[in-house]
């Protein structure tokens, strides 16, 4: 093998080097700035490499580099990059009312290791790589959830996540053992052939049952979603952002990797199960979000509901479903990060709660408008990105004739609309006292403008996300 044959693997190798370098950098740099700069420059380079670098597919034993995996990797990279930018003020003294985070090198290093796990997950050609990727994408978050120093909530979030995570990884492992028993191999091609040959094997279904339990946890799909509100609320906001966007995208990628290719033959039998889980997730998420005062907890419930909508795509057939999934993840990421940046801004002086949003329209009208756009997008109002995403999901389900399910989903969207409007209302309520105007840094303004424009552009002109989705579909 010549060196040139390794070029398709370059992003994965670079990421590993970057992760190790960032982990070490705290030893040399005291203020943590170096870690931040190294991470974002590295990630930006990685994103460019993935977008414009080598386009050739390659197979390294059971590690497959394909166009689809590149798209997923690009998504993970961008989500992590946004998380890194979001986390910056949280490491500055006085940057957040909840307390300053320390050791940015370790923090970013853990994020990057997580990403490495996600990379492995989407490049997996057999269940060993798949399992290792899944675990590597989960474990650093145990530590990250408990990252807020001397904070009881954060430690509680960490311990809850580790218990639920350990439980779900045991489920996954148990499930994989049955899949192995049913098919006698761990490689995806052999798995696919065996599943097609004997789709009614009880051992196979035992495996799918436990595996779905494990993945459902990571996805925060009801009835395995109950950790999400507690962990999201207790974890530092950047970690919550990473959980709700990157980690969720990884879980969706895992679901798609497994159930749209090697286990595709049994997916029609699983349709009622996905439908029930979708309904449960929508209902649980929407009911939960209605009463929330804490924004992180609110995000958790709303993201559970979004998972419910996304599960509709698992009912559809082929490329349309994948395109709908990727498009939704992109738009959800953009919308989510716009909201999280606003949370970061108000978190500088007060708690990141609903009442913390009060008077936002006076303190910074632009931010209030962005918040309205976010909420409209989450609620699916055109011309914002969220509308088109929902439209694609619903039409994927309708095309398969699941009208009842579409009806339930649409009714849920109306309920969700109610609480999204509550958030908008808070921003336009006058605060009790005189609120100081908010000053944004130029970089913040740029990021917020970028996200706001993306919200509009993706909704009106879906071509960029559409391109991503198509690339992920082939």
């Amino acid at each position: 093998m010549t060196l040139a044959e390794f070029t398709p693997l370059l992003p994965d190798l670079l990421l590993l080097a970057l992760a190790l370098a960032v982990l070490k950098i705290d030893l040399w740099s005291e203020d943590g700035e170096a870690g931040f700069h190294l991470t974002w420059i590295g990630l930006a380079g990685l994103a460019l490499l993935l977008a414009f670098g080598s386009r050739s597919d390659a197979v390294f034993a059971d590690y497959h580099i394909t166009a689809a995996s590149r798209v997923w990797k690009l998504l993970f990279t961008l989500a992590t990059l946004a998380t890194v930018f979001l986390s910056r003020p949280y490491f500055r003294a006085g940057g957040n009312a909840r307390g300053t985070l320390a050791k940015s090198g370790a923090f970013f290093g853990l994020l990057l290791l997580c990403m490495q796990g996600m990379f492995a997950l989407v490049s997996a050609g057999n269940l060993i790589v798949f399992y290792l990727g899944l675990e590597l994408a989960t474990m650093p978050i145990y530590a990250l959830a408990a990252y807020q120093p001397r904070d009881a909530d954060s430690a509680e979030a960490g311990s809850k996540y580790v218990l639920m995570g350990g439980f779900s990884s045991a489920l996954t492992l148990f499930g994989i053992s049955f899949l192995y028993g049913a098919t006698g191999s761990l490689g995806f091609p052999a798995l696919e052939a065996a599943v097609r040959a004997a789709p009614a094997d009880p051992a196979l279904w035992g495996g799918i049952f436990f595996l779905l339990g494990g993945l459902g946890f990571k996805l925060a799909m009801a009835p395995l979603h109950m950790w999400a509100p507690d962990v999201y609320q207790g974890a530092p906001t950047p970690v919550m952002a990473f959980l709700s966007v990157a980690s969720k995208a990884a879980a969706v990628a895992a679901l798609a990797t497994l159930f749209l290719s090697p286990l595709n033959a049994v997916r029609p039998d699983l349709a009622p199960c996905f439908a029930a889980a979708a309904v449960l997730s929508m209902v649980a998420g929407n009911l939960g979000a209605m009463r929330q005062k804490d924004l992180r907890r609110f995000v958790a419930y709303s993201s559970v509901a979004q998972v419910g909508y996304m599960l509709l795509a698992m009912l559809g057939e082929g490329d349309g479903s994948r395109a709908a999934l990727v498009y939704n993840l992109v738009t959800y990421g953009v919308t989510g990060f716009a909201l999280y940046f606003i949370m970061g801004v108000i978190g500088k002086e007060g708690p990141e709660t609903m009442s913390g949003l009060r008077g936002l329209s006076r303190r910074h009208p632009g931010l209030a408008v962005l918040l309205v756009l976010c909420m409209f997008s989450l609620a699916g109002v055109p011309p914002l990105a969220g509308f088109l995403g929902k439209f694609m999901l619903f039409s994927a389900a309708a095309a398969e004739g699941h009208y009842l399910l579409v009806g339930i989903a649409v009714a849920n969207a109306v309920v969700s609309f109610y609480y999204y409007m509550l958030v908008v209302k808070e921003a336009y309520i006058a605060p009790p006292g005189e609120a100081a105007a908010i000053r944004l840094r130029p970089l913040q303004i740029m990021v917020l403008w970028g996200l706001g424009l993306a919200l509009l552009v993706l909704g009106v002109c879906p071509a960029p996300a559409d391109w991503l989705a198509r690339a992920a579909g082939n």
């Binding site: 311990s159 809850k160 218990l163 639920m164 439980f167 779900s168 009614a200 094997d201 009880p202 279904w205 049952f209 339990g213 459902g216 009835p223 395995l224 109950m226 507690d230 009622p272 199960c273 439908a275 029930a276 889980a277 449960l280 649980a284 009911l287 939960g288 209605m290 009463r291 559809g316 057939e317 082929g318 349309g320 395109a323 329209s361 409209f376 109002v381 055109p382 011309p383 509308f387 088109l388 439209f391 694609m392 619903f394 039409s395 309708a398 095309a399 398969e400 009208y403 009842l404 579409v406 009806g407 649409v410 969207a413 109306v414 609309f417 109610y418 409007m421 209302k425 879906p462 559409d466």
Partner: protein
Amino acid sequence: MGDTRLAAFAWEPMHCAAYGILLLPLLSFLINGLWLGRKSARASAWTATVLMGATAALSIIVASGYRDHILTAPHLFPARAALAFEHTWLDFSLGSGAVLSARLGFYLDPISVMMVLVISFISFLVNLYSIGYMKDDAGAGRFFPLLSFFSFTMLGLVVSSNLAQTFFFWELVGAASYLLIGFWYAKPSAVAASKKAFILTRLADAFFLMGLLAVGVNAGSFDFAHLNGPEAAAALNHSVGAGLVTFNLLSLGTLGIYMGAWGKSAMFPFHVWLPDAMEGPTPVSSLIHSATMVVAGVYLTARLYPLFSAAEYTLRVVECTGAFTAVFAAAIACAQTDLKRILAFSTLSQLGLMMSALGTGGGGEPGAAYTASMFHIFTHAFFKCLLFLSAGAVIHAIHSNDIREAGAGGLRKAMPRTYWATLIAVAAIAGIWPLSGFFSKEAILHAALANGRYGALAAGLCTGALTAFYMARYFFLIFHGSAVGSRAPHDSRATHAQEAHPVREGALMTLPILILAVPSALIGILGKGFFTGTVRLWGAEGGASAGVSESALPMRHASSGSWLPAVATVLALSGAGIAWYWYAFRKNGAAFPDRRAPAWYRILAEKFYIDEIYLFLAKRVASKWIAAPAEWTERNIVNGAFDWMTGAVKRLAFLQSIAQSGQVQAYIAVALLGIYLLFRFTGPGY
């Protein structure tokens, strides 16, 4: 459908004008919203007005181009419809290889051209009016971009060539109205009203989305040209099962779509948002009620009329909701004392008339029903806008919404131009010959008669009488009212206000009022030919192509309904006469229905025989048996049901929060049990 594209005319001014109609209001929104509105409210007001005026001019170009190139060339355009332009927006692949395209297009046919004209013209006048109205408002810089946006969304809606585009703009109209109704967001009632409007209409839109998906996916296209053809109705007309129930896909799809229209056009029981929407500035109300927002529902129903007329069941629903809303809202309007609320209920009632007219089309005369409804949308837009603008002028002058305070002001002398304009509008909506409302109402009644829908006919006649009564009451109380007994607790405020700001009519606000008075008066006579000719033809052919039998094209006035206009006029005149006698001649103030007013007992004591009859009619019959129960239903049942629904959801949310106990071991147990049950009941059962 023949060649529906306008490729040969691509260079025509009409083609460019079509782009301009959508781009200019959008441009106005962007310029004013991002930049000019913050610099100078006045400059932004004028920019918005000029751009809207230009849009109105372009719409005339499009309309004349449409007349010259398409109407006169039926051999090229047998459906009298064409696309000024169409761009593919995105394609959905539907698994089986089929592709569903959502496009952005500009569809030209009689009703879309008519609506474009109406919307751009009325938006322009409302903009002009708002310059004066919003002059002293701190938020004026925010107001004009939103107004332009509102017009843009509505224009995009009426010209859309397919259901996906319609839905897209449909939701945008909702969002724009949300922002405008809640324009004074410091006022809690405005915030509540905007939220109510948005959430209720979105509830209805949820059904619309379902219907749209069901229809689009099964017919294989979102395009109106396809959906209105016979193949689409045939493709949809079969039963599908969902769980335990089976239903006809055509009925389900059209009903779903109609539910969207139901909510947007505020048919009972979705009507509750509309009166509250008065919390917005008056120019916004006038736009919502005349040319944008609420007529969207009627327009959508008309747009898909051939498809709807293939679905008999849906048409009956359309007819019943329309007829009931017409009478119900008219009855409530009789008992209101808030200027804008009276107008709001009158809009509801008129929309109900239009809907019921569409619904009557299942009989032998689909073309007549369709025509009548579109004709009434057209005339109603003008006189309703005029009513709102003049009401706004009155409110602006007396700083109160209360009809009894207005009556105290001697406004007839202070605002002569507003007085006459209001008189024209009131007579028009009451259906007095030769004003515009007379002709369109007559057309609706004829359609009901010709199609043999006697229930709708009775509802129409009844609504006509009630409308004449409450509109005359409205007029006489404002301009001929007296202070006797009616100005109990509020008068000091009104008087102070008048002393501080002497009543006068601003030129910028009066101009649009005077302009609108002309079409309100004349458009009925002038437009009759267009509607009974062109539009009717389209409706008739569409109905025929969708499998509805079409008997005879010429209007059947002479043979079957020559007595109708006479009866309608007599009813209208007697309604107005009662109001005149009661509120102008007897100077009874607004005693009816206010039982506490002391004047009531004085008149009781006079014991005129004629009074007794009127008393009986007004108080015993009208108030007790119509207006009061209607209001009671409104308050307790309709609002109660919506409250109950939200309450139930909130209680469920409370239960959910108890389940989320914070015990991680409970979470794990739920997860294990949940995933087991999930597989037990939905898994393949191995």
